[in-house]
């Protein structure tokens, strides 16, 4: 068997088949939650009984605010009169958009910088590392606040809000991608096959992309899931502090939780619990997938080593434990 079928080599499928027992359970649970999230985001306009900013039904009757869960509003209404269920569903769409935008923005730049900086080294690398460490060690929420202030310029429509959040998350995340990819690049740089390519006279670009890059992106799925979950948490945080998106423009879970503080004091639980649980579930789902992928890539943590590696990626994983000094793990 030289090249296993393409179906089994697909990233998630492959790991799924590799996993055993409890780890498989974790991966499955995570995937299921993520699937539900994606479906909710895609189908919100169809599933949600009302729109995110709807205050009255088709007949023109305004909704009674502060209503407990009932037949018309299965999850109740908010202090302003919005339908909680609908807002939660529509909120998943907002969350999804923010993840996509912020991840796309930060991933490419972060990876490219990490690769180049790690491979070329020298003073450029040192400077970038100090910058990345500095930004990285700083509370991301605070940076996000600062940038959100400016980017939104006081407006808060849907796309303005999304971009404000996404960009602030990007600024905070580029260092993360940078660090991870750089660390892997530095490690791989000293491997014999990279030196072999250098000795035979391959150009720098060729070595970087044909040899280093493909091997350095092994830990990417984990960083991606971290990125995605933090994007949601930061979005919610910003929303909670009043930087979210106006309810008339879109639904956002953090904003709803901010409105819910008053309700909680009065004992009304439905306005806080539902959006909050939504956040928890989505982040949990994404993180479960990330953790499982991480475990499977690290032979020290994976249950039962395989007798033979099925793909090249496995072989790499089997010989090089993904000990990450930069994330505080011992080797």
């Amino acid at each position: 068997m030289s090249k296993p079928s393409i179906w089994t080599r697909l990233p998630i499928v492959h790991q799924y088949r590799q996993s055993v027992g409890l780890q498989r359970g974790m991966l499955t649970a995570g995937l299921v939650i993520c699937a539900v999230f994606l479906l909710a985001a895609l189908l919100a306009p169809i599933i949600a009984p009302y729109s995110y900013n709807q205050l009255s039904d088709g007949a023109g009757d305004t909704f009674t605010p502060r209503q407990a869960p009932s037949a018309e509003h299965i999850w109740g209404t908010t202090i302003a009169g919005y339908d909680v269920f609908s807002r939660v569903l529509w909120g998943s769409r907002t969350a999804f958009l923010v993840i996509v935008v912020s991840v796309l923005l930060s991933m490419f730049l972060g990876i490219l910088l990490g690769l180049v900086s790690g491979y070329i080294g020298g003073w450029v690398d040192r400077v970038l590392v100090v910058i990345a460490d500095a930004v990285y060690a700083f509370p991301s929420l605070l940076l996000a606040i600062v940038s959100a202030i400016i980017i939104s310029r006081g407006q808060s429509d849907l796309w303005g809000g999304i971009f404000a959040t996404a960009i602030s998350i990007t600024v905070v995340f580029i260092p993360q991608y940078f660090r991870v990819i750089r660390a892997e690049t530095v490690r791989i740089k000293s491997e014999a096959f990279v030196e072999a390519a250098q000795v035979m006279g391959a150009s720098t670009w060729r070595v970087m992309f044909r040899h280093v890059f493909r091997n350095a992106t092994r830990t990417l799925p984990l960083v991606f899931t971290l990125n995605a979950s933090e994007a949601i948490l930061t979005l919610a945080g910003l929303g909670f502090l009043g930087f979210g998106i106006e309810p008339s423009a879109a639904a956002e879970w953090g904003y709803d939780l901010n409105r819910a503080i008053e309700d909680v004091t009065a004992g009304r639980w439905w306005t806080a619990v539902f959006p909050g649980v939504a956040i928890v579930l989505v982040v949990m789902g994404i993180t479960l997938v990330g953790e499982s992928l991480n475990d499977l890539a690290d032979p020290r943590l994976r249950t039962r080593r395989r007798a033979s590696a099925a793909t090249p990626a496995d072989a790499v994983a089997a010989t090089t434990p993904a000990a990450r000094n930069e994330i505080g793990e011992t080797e």
């Binding site: 060690a137 600062v146 400016i150 310029r153 009065a266 928890v280 949990m284 020290r300």
Partner: protein
């Protein structure tokens, strides 16, 4: 908003320098690490500046929809925001160098704000860290010992739950259950108004209520303060607890796979002792470095927690300034925090270097 696994900085992390020839002097490390503070602060402060000014100015952000363009222009010019960026930047750096982080809309220097409210945030962070330590570390070791069995899975899911729950939601749920439904804990503030008054009356109050309450000698006051601190502490602390749990678990498992553990086992050292003594130290050293970053995370989380519980600390103030659109104050606080974070990380790294004999330049 929280970082789970990603932690120590690349250059300064002691764990990352493990490969270095050990045995170098501790003082050398201290010196070099100290010198690194300045570029760090510089970069952060510059980042804050850039983020605040590159796409606009505080005045437009604050009053954008409310004033006419002409009025905006006027104010911008009065505040000097239309000058070339480089001039503004240099002035900004100069101010920071002199310790001037700006003034709030009602005329207070930002440094003063920090001094007044910093103690409260410190207290909250302290309680949060205690919770994190008590919950995170032992559970992490337990998870490592139970590796891959049900207990381990449960603990790991718990850790993820801690990470996934936004602090403000945790806070709201705690409030709901313990304040509103059960009525056993106060729902907001740092202490009952009466108690607060009494504590404030002692000579030279530190601003940290726990200490001040102890100083009054009245057990009722101490209890009151603690009652107010429990929920915020738990809400903020669980976040970090999850991080610690996961990190300890991974590190202990990793360390247990090391040959020297096997070697000790071959000499008849018991399994219990292996985990407790041998794996303990190498696994915990990285935690110390992580603490540095967790403090940063705690500061961010503090803003949210304090807002939820009306805990009159720096975070709450920040939130108020945001509501009031006093962006100069916000910027000043954030810049000041940058300096503090840099200093804290420095101290933490030094402690880690002290404990781990291999880490020296």
């Amino acid at each position: 908003m929280a970082d789970t696994a990603t932690a120590a900085p690349t250059t300064a992390s002691p764990a990352a320098r493990k490969g270095a020839r050990g045995g170098g002097s501790l003082w050398r490390y201290v010196l070099i690490r100290f010198l690194l503070i300045f570029p760090t602060i510089f970069i952060l402060v510059t980042t804050v500046f850039l983020m605040m000014r590159v796409t606009g100015d505080p005045i437009t952000a604050a009053l954008g929809g409310q004033l006419t363009p002409a009025q905006l222009e006027e104010r911008i010019e009065a505040a000097g925001y239309n000058r070339p960026l480089i001039i503004q930047y240099l002035e900004y750096l100069g101010q920071i160098f002199r310790g001037d982080f700006g003034t709030t809309l009602d005329g207070q220097p930002v440094v003063g704000v920090l001094l007044r409210y910093g103690g409260a945030t410190l207290e909250l962070a302290f309680y949060a860290l205690i919770v994190a330590f008590i919950v995170g570390i032992p559970l992490g070791m337990l998870a490592a010992a139970l590796r891959d069995r049900w207990g381990d899975a449960v603990l790991r899911v718990f850790a993820i739950l801690c990470y996934a729950t936004p602090v403000f939601f945790a806070g709201l749920v705690l409030k709901l259950v313990f304040s509103v439904w059960l009525g056993v804990l106060p729902s907001s503030g740092r202490a009952s108004p009466r108690v607060e008054l009494q504590i404030g009356r002692i000579d030279n109050p530190t601003g940290i209520y726990t200490i001040d309450a102890i100083r009054t000698g009245n057990p009722a006051y101490i209890v009151d303060v603690l009652q107010h601190a429990i929920m915020p502490g738990i809400a903020l602390g669980l976040l970090t607890a999850g991080v610690f749990l996961r990190l300890v678990r991974t590190n202990v498992i990793g360390t247990l796979a090391m040959p020297y553990i096997d070697a000790a086992r071959s000499r008849g050292v018991s399994e219990y002792r292996l985990v407790r003594t041998h794996a303990y130290k190498p696994a915990l050293i990285p935690i110390i470095t992580v603490i540095g970053l967790q403090i940063a995370m705690l500061l961010g989380g503090a803003v949210l927690t304090e807002t939820t519980f009306e805990w009159m600390g720096l975070g709450f103030q920040l939130s108020e300034y945001l509501k009031a659109r006093d962006y100069v104050a916000v910027q000043g606080i954030v810049a000041l925090l940058a300096v503090i974070v840099a200093l804290t990380n420095f101290i933490v790294d030094i402690i880690a270097a002290f404990i781990d004999p291999r880490v020296r330049y």
